[in-house]
Subunit: 196 residues, 2 copies
Amino acid sequence: MQKGEQTRASILHRAVSMASVRGFEGISIGRLAAETGMSKSGLFGHFGSKEALQLAILDFVVEDFKLNVIGPALREPTGEMRLRRLFGNWLDWTGSERLAGGCPLVAASVELDDQPGDLRDYLVEQQEGWLDCVRRMAQKAVAEGVFRDRLDTRQFAFEFHGIGLAFNFARRLLQDPKARSRADYAVDRLIESARA
Amino acid sequence: MQKGEQTRASILHRAVSMASVRGFEGISIGRLAAETGMSKSGLFGHFGSKEALQLAILDFVVEDFKLNVIGPALREPTGEMRLRRLFGNWLDWTGSERLAGGCPLVAASVELDDQPGDLRDYLVEQQEGWLDCVRRMAQKAVAEGVFRDRLDTRQFAFEFHGIGLAFNFARRLLQDPKARSRADYAVDRLIESARA
DNA sequence: TGACTTACAGAACGAACGTTCGTATAGTAC
DNA sequence: GTACTATACGAACGTTCGTTCTGTAAGTCA
C-alpha cells in the first residue's frame, strides 16, 4: 500500500506552492486537481475534507521547515553559531524555488490569526515552538558566557522573529534588493547587543 | 446627490472590518450586502467591480491610517518624539475596535505580495511611503543632533517596521499579553542605539 | 491466479461567487 | 408638481466551490 502515499505526497508538494502563493484559504481542490492532472474526487479522497487537506499542507510545510532550517542549525556547536545558522537557513528556505510565494508560515500567521479552528491551533503550537527554539539557542549562548546573564531571551526571540518578518516584507512586497543585507545587519546588531 | 456618498461610506466602514478579519480576498459582496442590509446588486452598483471595491477599502484604510497615525505624529516637535508617537499610534490604531482583525495593512502586505494588479501596486506605493515617513523622522533626529551622523536611516526604518510586525504576530496569533511591552522595549532599544 | 482492497474518474449536488439586467422607488432640480 | 436622475431591489446568469456517490480500473497479498 504505497501508491497512495506516493500520490498524496506529490499532491502536497504541489499544494505547498499553491498555498505559498495564494494562501491557505486560496487553495482550491479543483485547481489543485487540475495542476496535478487528477480529478477533483480522486484528489479529495486522499484527505476527506478541505480542512484536512489544509492541515496536511501545513504539517508538510512544518516538517520541511524543521528538517531544513532547524535541524542543521541544531548541529552547530555553540549557541551563537546556531542562531546565525538558524537565521540564514530561515531566509534561504523562504527564498527556495519550491516556495514561490515566500514563507508559508509567515503568510499563515497573518491569514489565520482571526480564524479559529484546528488549523490555527496547530499553527500557534508550531510558532510557539519556533520562538522557544530561538529562545533556547540564546539561552545556550548565555550558558556559554557569550551572551550576558540576565538577557531576556524571550525578548531576544521576539526581536529575532521581527527581523525575519521585516525581511519577508521588504523582499516580497517591496522587492527590495537590499532586504537580505538589511536583515543580516539587523541580526548582527541584535547578537552584538546581547553579548556579555 | 449625497445619499450615494453616505451609503458608500457606511459600506466601506463595514467592509474594513470584514477585510481586517477575513483579508482582502476574503470579502464577498454577498456577505457584505447581508451585513449592511442591502442587496448584492445595490451594493455592487456603488463600485462597479470587486476589484474597485477592494481598492476603495484599501484607500479608506490608508486615509484612516494617515489621519490617525501619521498626522498626530507629525505634529510632535522633535524627530525622536515623532518616532515614539508614530509607533504608539500605530500599535494603538492596530488594536482599535474598528479593526477587529488587526492591522489590515500588515495583512494586505502578506496577502498581496504575490498578486499582481492595481491593488498590489497601490499598496506598495503606500508602504514605501510609510517606510519613507519613518526614515524622514529619523533623519530629522539626525539633523537635530539627537541621532548620530551616518546613521543608516533606511536600516532604522527597516528595523522599526519589523518590531511592529513582530508585535502584530505576538498579539494576534499568539495572543501574548506581553506583546505591547516587548514592542515598546524593542523600540526603546532601537532608538537608544541610534543616539549620537 | 484469485480474492480483496485501494485508488481514481466521472457525474452530479447545493451553495456561494461576481456580475448583468430590467424595474421600481426615492431623491433632487426646475 | 413635473421631469429627471440617482439609488436600490430581485431575479437570473454562468462559474466555481466543497462534497457525495457510483462504477471501474489498478494495486496488493494469499
